[in-house]
């Protein structure tokens, strides 16, 4: 069975990352923005795993696990923040959450 070439994995990772960036920049809903961030993290994870597999080294796996832990922690905190924001302002539009500015 022919191996899937490395470049495919990397291209997929880049596409996913770009999608995450685009979502972060252009969506207004906080939850969507949050999901975009998760998407970017996982795109990076994919690159780590790819290189780890290619170079037969365990470092990439290790970093992927770290990223997953951080992502999990961030999800917990982030969702809590989102809940509080919604409770206080009754909105999830990111452009309206700018009280630090004024």
């Amino acid at each position: 069975m022919a191996e899937v070439p490395i470049s495919w994995f990397l291209t997929l990772s880049a596409v996913l990352f770009a999608l995450g960036v685009a979502g972060f920049l252009f969506r207004r809903n906080i939850i969507t923005v949050f999901m975009s961030i998760e998407l970017m993290l996982n795109a990076v994870n994919l690159s780590f795993i790819t290189f780890s597999y290619q170079l037969k080294q365990v470092n990439g796996h290790l970093l992927a696990f770290f990223v997953m832990v951080v992502a999990a922690a961030e999800a917990a905190v982030g969702l809590a923040i989102i809940l509080t924001v919604f409770k206080n302002r009754s909105t999830l539009n990111i452009d309206e959450v700018d009280s630090m500015k004024n």
Binding site: V21, F24, L25, F26, V33, I94, D95, V97, D98, S99, M100, K101, N102
Partner: protein
């Protein structure tokens, strides 16, 4: 011999009264204050008796005070014959004045504060005379200045008293600046500040250096001893209580300058130029202050100018190389001037605070003790033959004649004026009709007792203490021979002064006023103290204050220093207002910046050669 006990006893009195005196009854304050000074006096007597004839300097070293490189300054006290004289004057007169103050201050507030300051003054004055090096002398010098300031401003709720205190302190700073320069210069030249070392090396030093040192020391002495041009603080210093005027501003502190010049005689004998300057300043001060004293109406002002004038005489003595004559006059002046001040204090006390001679008169019968003791002092200061003042003034005038005859004649004229103004004050206060509204009462025995002792000393002190003979072992002999003609001329000037005062103020009282009216211009000129205060105000004080206001405050402080601080602040603010635009508060714009930044970093790394 435990010399340290001499100054330490008054210091202990100061600490006890200063810390606890507020709660003490008056009797306890008196015991502590007067007891400490009297004990100190007793210890001086015991020490001096124990030291015998004092042919050599007796030094005690306690500890090294400052050690830094070549500088080695010990806390040393030394006693020689000059110090012995000063110690006796300071503690002896000091004790008498303390006793007198007990009565004078009886009805005043701040009783414990007054005696605490007075004791502190005694401590510093004794350090000054006992010091065996210039720096320790300077400590005492500054300390007595501080006490003088505190006691002039004793009635601190009165504006004129605090102003007078400030004036004394500031004018003295000018003199002290000269003194400190002299101390630096002495150290630079001799590598030591010990009197012994410095005086041993003095003959070998260059005359230019010695003259500079001598003149700088003289600046210090002019400040402390109220000579032209720094005498202006002393007349104002009369704002303090009268015993203070007697102790500090007549008998002891103001003579510190004379003492210091006499102490530095090995420097001065090799710097004749500096000595000459001292003599000229002295005779000018003596004459000028006496002329102002002729027309003053405040009894204390008369004696204040008289003090300035007599200090001028002492400077003449020192300046003519007759150091022992200067010290002799210092001692006799301490007797009669302390008596004059204490006597005027007694008069003021009797009249419940009246100081104006025009509101006195006829007090002879009402306060006889004060009157006749003051008469003795007036005779002494007028140079009446065979009083103590006659002996010392005569010694000075003889030396002045040997130095420069014009000084003798000016000094004799001044002696006549001195006799006139002192007896003018005496006659105005004690003769004629009483012109005031108070009910004069004689002072208590605590006040008149010291007056009697001082009166005896004023008349006979010159014989009891043969200062010139006693000091002849330290000072070089002054070459002026006894001259009967000059003695007669000098003392007859005093007699003429007394006679004129008698005619003008007792025999024909109208003359004084008509004379003042006839000589209106010089009279107003003298009455306003030659406008010296106004001249200083216009030429020194105003430009200094104005310069400080414009240059130091407006330009330097407000302009440059504040400008720098405020400038840093406003630059940061301007920069911040530009950077603030980045902080839009919009999360997506932040994300754009992050993206932009990452791309920039990647591009930069790519250009630099990529990650390796």
């Amino acid at each position: 011999m435990q010399l340290w006990l001499i100054p330490l006893l008054p210091l202990a009195g100061f600490v006890i009264n200063g810390v606890l005196g507020r709660r003490f009854p008056k009797a306890l304050i008196n015991t502590v204050a007067i007891g400490s000074v009297a004990l100190s006096f007793a210890w001086v007597l015991k020490t001096l008796l124990g030291l015998g004839d004092l042919q050599n300097v007796y030094t005690e070293h306690y500890f090294t005070w400052i050690q830094s490189g070549a500088l080695n300054i010990g806390c040393d006290f030394a006693v020689d014959r000059l110090t012995a004289v000063m110690l006796l004057v300071v503690t002896g007169i000091g004790s008498l004045i303390h006793v007198h103050s007990m009565g004078y201050m009886a009805h005043e507030g701040g009783y414990y504060r007054f005696f605490a300051y007075l004791n502190l003054f005694m401590f510093f004055m004794l350090v000054l005379v006992l010091a065996a090096n210039y720096l320790l002398l300077f400590v005492g010098w500054e300390g007595v200045g501080l006490c003088s300031y505190l006691l002039i401003g004793f009635y601190f709720d009165k504006q004129f008293a605090t102003n007078a205190g400030n004036k004394a302190f500031i004018v003295n700073r000018i003199g002290d600046f000269g003194f400190s320069l002299a101390v630096f210069y002495i150290f630079k030249n001799f590598g030591s500040l010990d009197f012994h070392t410095v005086f041993q090396q003095a003959p070998g030093a260059s005359e230019a250096a010695l003259t500079t040192i001598g003149l700088l020391l003289m600046v210090g002495a002019c400040g402390k001893s109220a000579q032209i041009p720094l005498y202006v603080w002393l007349p104002d210093a009369m704002a303090g209580p009268t015993p203070v005027s007697a102790l500090i501003h007549a008998a002891t502190m103001v003579t510190a300058g004379v003492y210091m010049c006499a102490r530095s005689w090995p420097i001065y004998t090799h710097a004749p130029e500096a000595l000459n300057v001292i003599a000229v300043i002295g005779i000018a001060t003596a004459f000028m202050a006496a002329s102002i004293g002729l027309v003053q109406n405040d009894i204390k002002k008369v004696f204040a100018y008289s003090t300035v004038s007599q200090l001028g005489y002492m400077f003449v003595g020192v300046g003519c190389g007759a150091f022992s004559a200067g010290i002799y006059h210092l001692v006799t002046h301490a007797f009669f001037k302390a008596l004059l001040f204490l006597g005027s204090g007694s008069v003021i006390h009797a009249l419940s605070g009246e100081q104006d001679l025009r509101h006195m008169g006829g007090l002879r019968g009402k306060i006889p003790w004060t009157c006749w003791t003051m008469f003795c002092a007036s005779l002494a200061i007028a140079g009446f033959p065979f009083t103590s003042g006659f002996l010392s003034k005569d010694a000075i005038l003889l030396a002045a004649h040997g130095h420069a005859p014009w000084m003798f004649w000016l000094g004799t004229l001044t002696a006549g004026m001195t006799a006139f103004y002192v007896f003018r004050a005496f006659f105005m206060a004690f003769f004629g009709q009483y012109r005031g509204h108070e009910h004069p009462h004689e002072s208590p025995a605590t006040m008149t007792g010291p007056l009697v002792v001082l009166a005896i000393l004023s008349l006979a002190g010159g014989y009891l203490f043969r200062v010139p003979e006693f000091l002849s072992t330290i000072f070089p002999a002054s070459e002026a021979p006894e001259d009967l003609t000059l003695m007669v001329i000098a003392s007859s000037a005093g007699l003429v002064g007394i006679l004129i005062a008698w005619v003008m103020y007792v025999a024909k009282p109208g003359i004084a006023d008509s004379l003042a009216a006839a000589l209106k211009l010089p009279y107003t000129f003298l009455y306003n103290k030659l406008y010296v205060d106004e001249i200083y105000d216009a030429t020194v004080v105003k430009p200094l204050v104005g310069g400080s206001r414009v240059l130091l405050w407006k330009v330097m402080d407000a302009g440059i220093i504040d400008g720098m601080v405020n400038g840093v602040g406003s630059r940061a603010r301007n920069l911040g207002s530009v950077l603030r635009l980045l902080q839009s508060g919009n999360i997506r714009s932040y994300a754009t910046w992050v993206l932009f930044g990452s791309v920039l970093v990647i591009v930069a790394l790519g250009i630099a050669g990529g990650l390796r």
